[in-house]
């Protein structure tokens, strides 16, 4: 869903962040995508390739960390991972779990830059 506009957003954000390291090349971009983010990874990769073509980000790889849904089970008193998004119940005790701890992520976790022989001009 909206993978093209997501790719464009990612390019904008990465370009903005990479500006702090002039001359450095972005080798890869790592995303965190939650199971409930509804992003189709293949589409996103395809749109990414299209969007970065002819830009300084051309060739940068898109790496994806898939984030499972984690809920807090009040009965077990701990956070547990859901096996599927068809049932929001603790897989151990079966208690319905409405507190979502993780799973909706749609974020850029980090970028990998090659700044060999390039001085950075900003603090980390």
């Amino acid at each position: 869903m909206h993978e093209l506009s997501l790719a464009t957003s990612i390019v904008e954000a990465v370009t903005e962040s990479a500006a702090a390291y002039p001359g450095a090349k972005v080798e890869s971009v790592r995303l965190r995508l939650g199971a409930l983010s509804d992003v189709v990874e293949d589409s996103l990769r395809f749109c990414w390739e299209l969007t970065v073509e002819g830009t300084p980000l051309a060739g940068a790889r898109l790496l994806v960390t898939k984030v499972p849904v984690v809920v807090h089970c009040a009965r077990c008193a701990e956070d547990v991972e859901l096996e599927s998004v068809q049932s929001f119940r603790c897989p151990r005790c079966g208690e319905p779990a409405s507190e979502l701890k993780q799973g909706k992520e749609l974020e850029i976790e980090s970028i990998e830059i090659d700044d060999h022989c390039v001085e950075q001009t900003s603090e980390e």
């Binding site: 957003s9 509804d38 998004v85 068809q86 409405s98 980090s110 990998e112």
Partner: protein, 226 residues
């Protein structure tokens, strides 16, 4: 080649999230309860909202609505018949409303000040997929499904139903001829969003509207406390 990792931890929909946070602050400052109504096309959002606006007006509450569609102002016209201020948002192809559109349509809305409202309803574009990711700054997200759509709707669209604060089953006056399995629908909604408040209504007959209006009043009262 030496490379290093620079942490960004930045939301991809950051722009919308920031605008939505701004709207949320604006709504709170104005003391208006804002609801985002989401459903498939044809569920009966407009009829439900029209009935809601009429009943709120009759009860002395001040409500307004923003309604999103790709094209036409048909829904805004229908809703305006309730006597409430209504403004149409035409997205011309975009399949969801976003915070920027809401902000733009709140500005310059003739005769409407957020501070003069008890409730603002936002009727989203008919779509159970894309609206789930776009925060409009709302306090309550309402997912609607009708008795004609199948009891497994929540299972088919878990992201949207899991993100909802309340659910409404519409068109209950025709549940029987549709062979609607009420228990199964309620079970499925709870499977995806345990403990969610569920309302069952008919905009035609008025069934279930009293409960729904009671909930709105409850939620509005909470807002004032905060």
């Amino acid at each position: 080649m030496t490379t290093r990792i620079v942490e960004l931890r930045r939301g991809i929909l950051k722009k919308n999230d920031e605008l939505a946070a701004g709207l949320r602050q604006r709504y709170t400052a104005a003391g208006v309860l804002v609801l985002n109504l989401v459903s498939s096309p044809g569920t009966g959002k407009t009829a439900f909202l029209e009935r809601t606006l009429r009943e709120l007006k009759a009860g002395g509450a001040r409500a307004a609505a923003l309604v999103g569609d790709l094209e036409t102002d048909n829904d805004a016209r229908r809703l305006a018949a309730s006597g409430a201020p209504v403004r149409q948002i035409n997205t011309h192809g975009i399949c969801h409303l976003d915070a920027e559109m809401i902000g733009k349509h709140l500005d310059g809305w003739e005769g409407v000040e957020l501070g003069g409202l008890d409730y603002l309803f936002i009727e989203n574009v008919g779509n159970l997929v894309c609206p789930s990711s776009y925060d409009l700054g709302e306090k309550i997200r309402v997912a609607l499904l009708s008795v004609t759509e199948g009891e497994d709707k929540p299972l088919k669209y878990p992201t949207l139903f899991n993100s909802a604060d309340a659910a409404v089953i519409t068109k209950i006056d025709i549940a029987e001829p549709c062979g609607f399995d009420r228990d199964l629908a309620l079970k499925n909604i709870n499977e995806i969003r345990p403990g969610i408040r569920i309302f069952e209504t008919s905009s035609k007959t008025g069934a279930g509207m009293a409960d729904w209006l009671g909930y709105l009043a409850e939620e509005r009262a909470k807002k004032i406390e905060v």
